[in-house]
């Protein structure tokens, strides 16, 4: 009887908590007409949707911009600088109309409100960069070079910051890769590709840098542009009542069997462990901060741990189970 009640209460808690919400920033709220763009000429300083801020810098003297733009340009055939805002797929991710195009000078960045875990981002090549790599132009080489065998590449590197601290991880995504010996494996990205960002854990900003194999005395010859859309963050892990990790620590992380929480503010509460899909994996109704948490049964992967104290304050962190 007692066992049945425990199972019932566990099922009930799963039902009430449900599957976590993922917040997607798809930029459709800008509601632009097709084949238009916003490049910061109104000196807005950037573009916001949901909890994502895409900074923009516009220089009136030269009519130049850097950072991010919002685009609905559909031209995926015209080469050159005059078509700098367009994406090679001619639309946003999943056939949507809006997407962001970044001109990366010394680096481009994205701000995330709060300190939450970014989940995914969709990336594609701009028309300008794509056609330059495919056909070459007056300044940049056709990838593969004269022989077709040059080991060329166009690389997007993403890094994350949390509270001003650069995280150790970085993520490399090849927008074009001709390094394979077998030329049939060479590619230039021309479709929206979703990238998993969850390795960065909690972050409040992401930086984007481009590098290429085609360089000269004046720097990178490949046009320094890429496109982004559908930025997904984990909604359930956001809370204004979140207790910052400076008072509460989780260790060891990664772990193979047990976890321990050390806190100067938390004493006890309801402990819940979620997987990356937001599903409840483990729940402990009455958890004391001094207790060890047994995670031996969890499969390898990344998880989120939440403690909700009796005064409704919440603490959230993530850990890796090896």
């Amino acid at each position: 009887m007692k066992r049945t009640l425990l199972i019932t209460s566990f099922i009930l808690s799963m039902t009430t908590l449900g599957v976590a919400q993922v917040e997607t920033t798809d930029l459709e709220s800008f509601n632009l007409e097709i084949d238009t763009f916003l490049n910061g000429s109104d000196f807005s300083g950037g573009f916001s949707e949901n909890r994502i801020f895409l900074p923009n810098s516009y220089e009136d003297t030269y009519g130049s911009w850097s950072g991010w733009s919002i685009s609905t340009m559909t031209d995926n055939t015209t080469a050159g600088f005059t078509n700098q805002y367009a994406c090679i797929s001619g639309s946003g991710a999943n056939g949507s109309s809006h997407y962001a195009t970044s001109f990366v000078g010394g680096g481009s960045y994205m701000l995330i409100e709060g300190d939450i875990i970014p989940q995914k981002i969709s990336i594609n090549n701009s028309t300008y960069a794509y056609l330059s790599m495919l056909n070459g132009d007056s300044f940049a080489k056709k990838f593969g070079g004269e022989s077709g065998d040059d080991p060329d590449f166009f690389l997007l590197t993403i890094k994350a910051y949390s509270n001003g601290q650069l995280k150790a991880d970085s993520l490399d995504f090849y927008l074009a890769d001709y390094r394979a010996t077998d030329n049939s494996l060479d590619y230039i990205i021309d479709e929206w590709t979703e990238i998993d960002l969850s390795l960065f854990l909690r972050s409040d900003s992401l930086t984007f840098n481009l590098s290429s194999s085609d360089n000269g005395a004046f720097g990178m010859n490949t046009p320094s542009y890429f496109c982004a859309d559908d930025i997904k963050i984990d909604d359930i892990l956001y809370s204004q009542d979140n207790i910052h990790s400076t008072t509460t620590n989780l260790y060891p992380n990664p772990t193979v069997d047990m976890l321990q929480i050390e806190s100067t503010t938390l004493r006890n509460g309801q402990l819940t462990i979620y997987n990356q899909q937001g599903q409840v994996i483990k729940a402990i109704g009455k958890y004391n901060i001094t207790d060890e948490i047994d995670v031996r049964a969890l499969p390898h992967g990344q998880y989120y741990i939440e403690i909700k104290a009796h005064d409704n304050t919440r603490w959230v962190d993530s850990f890796i189970k090896n």
Binding site: F103, G105, K141
Partner: protein, 515 residues
């Protein structure tokens, strides 16, 4: 626009004389003549009344080369007229070798030009002449793709209309020449692939007056006053831009029996407030019956160009002029029976060198005075003629060693202090031999240039060998010349600019008919 002339647009066939002045020449030739000048001119007609001379030439060559020209000189009473017409076209679809060893044909490389040079002069009095010259030229060229580019649709069209009116007085005691010129130059660059259609128009008016006199005690004095205004209209400029240049220069030359000393001074100024005083001191001395020594110290300058000042985005109206001191020493041996030898060494240090670099806070480039360049080197020329009965042999060799170094480390463009300037070879060797036997002339010349640093990669050194055979037939009042030429005889695969192929072995034939 760029402040330089595109020499590929100047048909050498239009000019009788082409003189290369290898010396800092700002004091004599003005803005931009830091390392020298090229003087194009036509020789004076013979003072022969009712004289008509006609020369027609046609030629053809590899890769669709077709060229033709006509020179008509008429001298009647006090009138002299010279008409020169020139046309050339080429498909330039030559093959070249890629890094992989594969052969590819140059494409979209058509070139054609038509030029008309007209000179008309009237002898007002025995010592006074008025003359008018016009140079009208239309050139169209397709811009071929680079070796790492699939397709190019870019084209460029250049239209020039240049007019000069001269008035000259030549007395025993003085010479006066006043000149007014008008240049109308249009350049259109189109690239449909990237939706570029740039139209650039420039008008320039020049007025120049030179007075020179020889004083009884072997002093020659000359004074020159010059004013020019250039108006430029371009889609890359915010508005029609105008720049006026003023210059006042003078020189005094003292001649002794075996030497002379020349002091020149030029004060130049433009409407933006750039101002420069350019002195030059030259001393020439025969140090033996065979040898002559010349030493020169001068201050050289270059005002910023229209593009550097007004280009949008990036133009910088606060640019300073490039400037610096130049020192040269020249030793010559000019005895007729001996080889002509010329050895020279030079040194110049140019400050405020202008380079395009990223503008702070933006990702556009702009010109800045961010570098200093030191240039020094040596040149050696040996020319000798041998007369062996009916065979004449002319030998010409020249070697130059050039160091042109950036003295400033710059981040973008990436330059380390001490680096050789882009595309400047350290070593150049030119050698030629011309054999004339009766009415047959054979010329073989070769050139070697050492490797250069490009903005993307190092360019290998190369050797080119050319040969030309001429056969002259004199038929009383007529003359016919047949010529055959082979350029790049060894079919050398070479590049002057990265990713731009150069023509391999090519042949041309030409017939010239003269009355």
């Amino acid at each position: 626009m760029l402040g330089v002339s595109d020499l590929s647009l100047v048909p050498s066939q239009l000019f009788d004389q082409l003189q290369v002045i290898k010396s800092g020449s700002s004091a004599d030739y003005g803005n931009g003549a830091i390392t020298g000048a090229i003087d194009l001119s036509n020789s004076e007609l013979q003072q022969q009344n009712n004289h008509v001379a006609l020369e027609v030439n046609i030629g053809a060559g590899s890769y669709g080369l077709r060229q033709g020209g006509l020179n008509l000189n008429i001298n009647k009473n006090k009138w002299q007229s010279t008409t020169k017409l020139y046309t050339a076209s080429s498909e330039n679809d030559f093959p070249y070798i890629l890094d992989s060893g594969q052969t590819r044909n140059n494409s979209h490389a058509n070139f054609n030009t038509k030029a008309w040079l007209q000179s008309l002069s009237y002898q007002l009095k025995s010592n006074q002449k008025i003359s008018f010259q016009s140079w009208v030229q239309r050139t169209f060229r397709e811009i071929p793709p680079t070796t790492t580019q699939n397709i190019s649709e870019a084209v460029q069209e250049d239209k020039v209309n240049r007019f000069i009116l001269d008035y000259e007085v030549n007395n025993k005691s003085y010479a006066l020449k006043t000149q007014i010129a008008f240049f109308d130059e249009n350049n259109i660059y189109e690239d449909p692939q990237i939706l570029i259609n740039n139209q650039n128009k420039f008008h320039r008016i020049i007025s120049k007056t030179k007075f020179s006199t020889e004083l009884s005690n072997n002093y020659i004095i000359s004074v020159l006053a010059e004013i020019s205004n250039t108006k430029g209209q371009s889609e890359s400029y915010e508005d029609t831009e105008s720049l006026t240049n003023y210059a006042l220069s003078g020189s005094i030359k003292k001649i002794w029996s075996s030497s002379h000393l020349k002091l020149s001074m030029r004060q130049a100024r433009n409407s933006l407030g750039n101002s420069f005083l350019s002195p030059s001191l030259l001393f020439n001395q025969d140090i033996s019956p065979l040898w002559n020594l010349q030493a020169k110290v001068s201050r050289e300058y270059r005002f910023p160009t229209l593009n550097e000042l007004f280009w949008r985005p990036g133009g910088n109206s606060d640019l300073l002029s490039e400037h610096g001191w130049n020192q040269e020493l020249d030793l010559r041996c000019n005895k007729p029976e001996s080889p002509n030898i010329r050895m020279s060494i030079y040194h110049r240090l140019i400050n405020d060198w202008i380079l395009w670099s990223p503008i702070d806070g933006t990702f556009f480039y702009g010109p800045f005075n961010i570098s200093k360049v030191r240039s020094y080197g040596t040149e050696l020329q040996v020319n000798h003629s041998l007369n062996l009965e009916s065979l004449t042999v002319d030998l010409n060799t020249a070697y130059s060693y050039t160091i042109s170094q950036n003295l400033t480390t710059i981040k973008t463009p990436k330059i380390n202090a001490g680096d050789q300037l882009f595309y400047i070879p350290r070593h150049q060797l030119i050698a030629g031999i011309t054999n004339t036997y009766k009415n047959i002339t054979l010329t073989i010349n070769g050139a070697y240039l050492s490797s250069t640093e490009g903005i993307i990669e190092t360019l290998d050194g190369y050797t080119l060998i050319n040969a030309y055979l001429y056969y002259d037939m004199d038929l009383s009042s007529h003359a016919i010349q047949l010529s055959v030429g082979i350029n790049n005889m060894t079919d050398t695969n070479y590049r002057i600019i990265e990713r731009r192929p150069m023509m391999g072995r090519n042949v041309s034939v030409n017939i010239k008919y003269k009355i």
